[in-house]
């Protein structure tokens, strides 16, 4: 096997792929390797952690057929430290790979490709597929991932739920205390209900770069494949049922207050400083008399905090929230103004963008 490729392209591809190889929880050493295959001038780099697999097709100037696996991180780090302008030549000899770039060269011991696990196949004739812009996908996925859980005892909540409703495609995540939902495609032809592991989705996000413009998502019964640019990521789906979350989203809030996101973030952070002792609990109030939105927190030992934002308020309201959850959502909403929806002390708070209504984030109040 022999490949000639520019340092920049190779380094980028190896970086993406080696992250997956390194994330393997298994003790099987070969999973730390990247599989490099050349087949009819088509070069692919493959890595898997047995929850997901990534394949990056590398555009090269010339290549000879062959296949080998080598430690992914070592090769990635070696290549990334080479000068940017060099052309890199990878060549196999026995079970070793020789990397040459101008004056620099290395020999890395590899392992035969036969030991590398065979990856599951997807029959692309029998899948449900969706296409959308990479940017919208990235924004949307970021907005829901933040609400997903890492409690392994409830596997269904450790993923992001892709589902169709009224001919639109939604993604949603919840950890039992908050829930985020985003409509990512307005009109779709086919239906899906599948839970994609949050870890796999994060890997997809990491692989996205500025040169990519479209993402294709394909589902079959047990797996999902994301295709972006030259990269293909295939992941298992979580086998479980996602709660019927739509029932949790209040149809209508009692009252809504529109607030400047930056200002609201500031006063939430200020209040959080004083809320450390009490598990981050802060009180959000709307006052008709003051015409203001107020956040309060009390740290018995250290003192207290009280900040106001001017706002058009129609009804007196009060609710106690975990400040961390509020900060999390304020970090991912994408407009300058947000709507803060109250429905009394024990019902969820709903946070939305002021204009675009396709993102909904709800936070359960704390009992006081």
């Amino acid at each position: 096997m022999k490949i000639e490729v520019t340092q920049g392209k190779l380094s980028k591809a190896l970086n993406v792929v080696s992250k997956v190889a390194a994330s393997s929880r298994s003790t099987l050493p070969i999973l730390n390797n990247v599989l490099i295959r050349v087949d009819d001038n088509k070069v692919s780099l493959t890595a898997t952690n047995l929850d997901m697999a990534i394949v990056d097709y590398l555009p090269v100037s010339s290549a000879e057929n062959g296949v080998i696996t080598v430690p992914a991180r070592l090769l990635a780090e070696f290549v990334s430290n080479l000068p940017k302008s060099e052309t890199v030549v990878l060549e196999t000899k026995d079970n070793k790979i020789i990397t040459k770039a101008g004056k620099y060269s290395s020999t890395i011991n590899g392992a035969p490709a036969d030991d590398f696990p065979e990856l599951p196949e997807i029959d692309e004739g029998k899948v449900v597929s969706f296409k959308m812009g990479v940017d919208e996908f990235k924004v949307g996925a970021n907005q829901v991932i933040t609400a997903s859980s890492n409690d392994l005892t409830r596997p269904a909540l450790t993923g992001v739920f892709f589902n169709t409703n009224n001919n639109s495609l939604y993604i949603a995540a919840t950890d039992g205390y908050r829930l985020a939902e985003k409509k990512i495609i307005e009109k779709v032809e086919s239906g899906v209900a599948a839970i994609v592991p949050t870890a796999s989705l994060s890997e997809v996000m990491r692989s996205i770069n500025d040169e990519m413009d479209e993402i294709e998502i394909l589902f079959d019964d047990t797996q999902v494949r994301f295709r972006i640019g030259e990269i293909e990521i295939t992941s298992k789906l979580i086998d479980g049922s996602f709660p019927d979350y739509r029932q949790l989203i209040p149809k209508e809030c009692e009252s809504e207050v529109t607030l400047n996101r930056a200002e609201l973030t500031r006063i939430t952070r200020l209040a959080a400083l004083f809320a450390k002792e009490v598990g981050g609990s802060i009180t959000c109030e709307a006052s008709v008399e003051k015409n203001a939105f107020i956040i309060k927190s009390v740290a018995n030992e250290y003192g207290e905090n009280d900040s106001e934002l001017e706002a058009a308020v129609t009804k007196d309201e009060k609710v106690t929230l975990n400040s961390r959850f509020l900060i999390d959502v304020l970090n991912v909403v994408d407009e300058d103004e947000v709507r803060f929806g109250f429905s009394g002390k024990v019902s969820p708070v709903v946070i939305r963008n002021e204009k675009n209504q396709n993102y909904t984030h709800i936070i359960m109040p704390l009992k006081v």
Binding site: S24, S26, T27, L28, P29, L31, N32, T48, L50, D51, A53, P117, E118, L119, P120, E121, L152, T153, R154, P155, G176, Y177, A193, T222, Q223, K236, I238, D239, G240, S241, F242, P243, D244, Y245, Q247, L248, G279, N300, N322, V346, P348, M364, P365, L366, K367
Partner: protein, 459 residues
């Protein structure tokens, strides 16, 4: 049938490398076998190809060895959790759970959790699992009791009182029990709390007038795990409160797990009623691992980290680190870090003398005289006083400690030790060493003294 599957797995385990087995067969379950058609459940789709193409004939062979006819094997993806429930259900009366799609029933289970928003946190650290707890002769009893607790919380070993010196894995084992119970009973309320935190919570609750809340928090638990119980010393009201919580939980058959560095009867000022209750289901101890156990621990750690380390290097560490498992692992990580840094294998490092275990090989550099000096000084005696024939109790003990240390730390022969400390013959020395060895197990102040002296010798 499902017991037979265990044998099949054991058979397979023998025939392929351990790393491959733990990767490809962990969570693989038998679902059904009928008329030569075997259905095997796999954790996810990535296993399918591998089992089909690489291990198919092995599985078939091992099934048939165990008298299960396997003309055809089907691999079905199912989550690990479901597999467990399914296996349990099927053994108790052949009920097979139907897969349910997301429906309102699921939600109902979800909703109250969201609404009462207790933010219930069990404090369990997911890194502590039964799978990565290495079983050896030093802890096999504790592990088998732990398993019984996991399978029947609140039934047989209640309370489960676990004791042993620092760094021997008490916290790991009890947290692993918690994690395992949580996996099997996701609705259980499990709390892991250190005695310090228990005390702080209690004091705060009184200060803020929230005693009721504190009461409720603990009394609704299904499993209470309390760590480092010896720290309760001198906190009388906390003891009283714990005693009440203990009784309430115990009467409701809730599992209580307590760890400590010593037996209840050796915790000073511990209320007798409490002391006897803690020990009523028997106290189980974790001991220092022996050489083989230590090797096994390091090997499994290396495997877990996916590192390849020479056996000689592992043996060297096991031989030289004598304090506890935490130090052993610490030393191990240090050598690995060094080896990454220097680009040499651990064994090369050791052979080149580039690495000396922090507080271990120093042993070699210590002279018998130093040990004797330090012991004498520690007990405020002159060397002459100590190394003689005096039968005054404290002098005699000091002398025996010196003998013990000479034997333990320098592996000196008993006749040589007899010469060093000026006693008649080696039988006196043997008696002395035996006495101290026995005493340190029950006399904790003596154990602390010896640790102090060691520190002075090597420090």
């Amino acid at each position: 049938m499902f017991d037979v599957w265990k044998n099949v797995l054991a058979e397979i385990e023998k025939q392929i490398p351990r790393a491959a087995f733990s990767t490809w067969f962990n969570g693989v379950e038998l679902i059904d076998a009928k008329d030569g058609i075997v259905e095997i459940g796999i954790p996810n789709v990535f296993y399918k190809k591998q089992l089909e193409s690489r291990y198919h004939s092995l599985i078939q062979e091992c099934l048939e060895k165990n008298k299960i006819e396997a003309r055809e094997i089907k691999y079905t993806v199912q989550s690990v959790m479901k597999a467990k429930i399914k296996a349990r259900e099927t053994t108790n009366g052949d009920k097979v759970i139907q897969r349910t799609t997301a429906r309102v029933e699921e939600l109902k289970y979800d909703l109250p959790k969201i609404q009462n928003n207790s933010l219930f946190n069990s404090n369990l650290n997911p890194k502590y699992q039964m799978d990565n707890f290495v079983i050896g002769s030093n802890n096999d009893l504790a592990v088998s009791v732990a398993k019984s607790v996991i399978n029947n919380p609140g039934a047989n070993y209640n309370p489960f009182f676990l004791y042993g010196g620092p760094g021997l894995g008490k916290t790991h084992l009890v947290q692993a029990i918690g994690n395992e119970i949580k996996r099997m009973h996701p609705d259980f309320k499990i709390l892991y709390i250190s005695t310090d935190h228990f005390y702080a919570d209690f004091v705060n609750s009184i200060k803020n007038g929230k005693g009721d809340e504190f009461n409720r928090k603990f009394r609704k638990l299904d499993v209470l795990i309390i760590d480092d119980f010896q720290q309760i010393v001198g906190k009388d009201r906390s003891q009283e409160e714990f005693f009440n919580i203990f009784n309430d939980l115990y009467q409701l058959n809730k599992q209580i797990i307590v760890t400590s560095d010593r037996l209840p009867s050796q915790i000073k000022t511990l209320d007798e009623r409490l002391s006897s209750r803690l020990a009523m289901a028997g106290a189980i101890d974790l001991q220092m691992p022996n050489f083989e156990d230590k090797c096994a621990i390091l090997k499994s750690k290396a495997e877990y980290m996916g590192r390849d380390i020479e056996n000689e290097a592992i043996e060297y560490l096991a031989e030289n680190v004598k304090t506890n498992i935490r130090d052993l692992e610490g030393e191990f990580m240090r050598i690995l870090a060094f080896s990454d840094f220097k680009g040499m294998t651990p064994l090369e490092l050791i052979n080149d003398g580039l690495i000396s275990p922090t507080r271990t090989t120093k042993t070699r550099a210590v002279q018998p005289k130093q040990i004797i000096d330090k012991v004498a000084k520690y007990y405020d005696l002159s060397v002459k006083e100590m190394c003689g024939k005096s039968r005054v109790a404290n002098i005699k003990t000091a002398r025996q400690v010196a003998m013990f240390l000479l034997s333990e730390e320098l592996q000196m022969s008993t006749p040589k030790i007899a010469l060093e400390v000026g006693v008649k013959d080696h039988t006196t020395v043997m008696h002395g060493i035996k006495k101290i060895k026995g005493d340190v197990k029950i006399n904790f102040s003596l154990r602390d003294q010896i640790e102090d002296i060691k520190e002075k010798i090597y420090g």
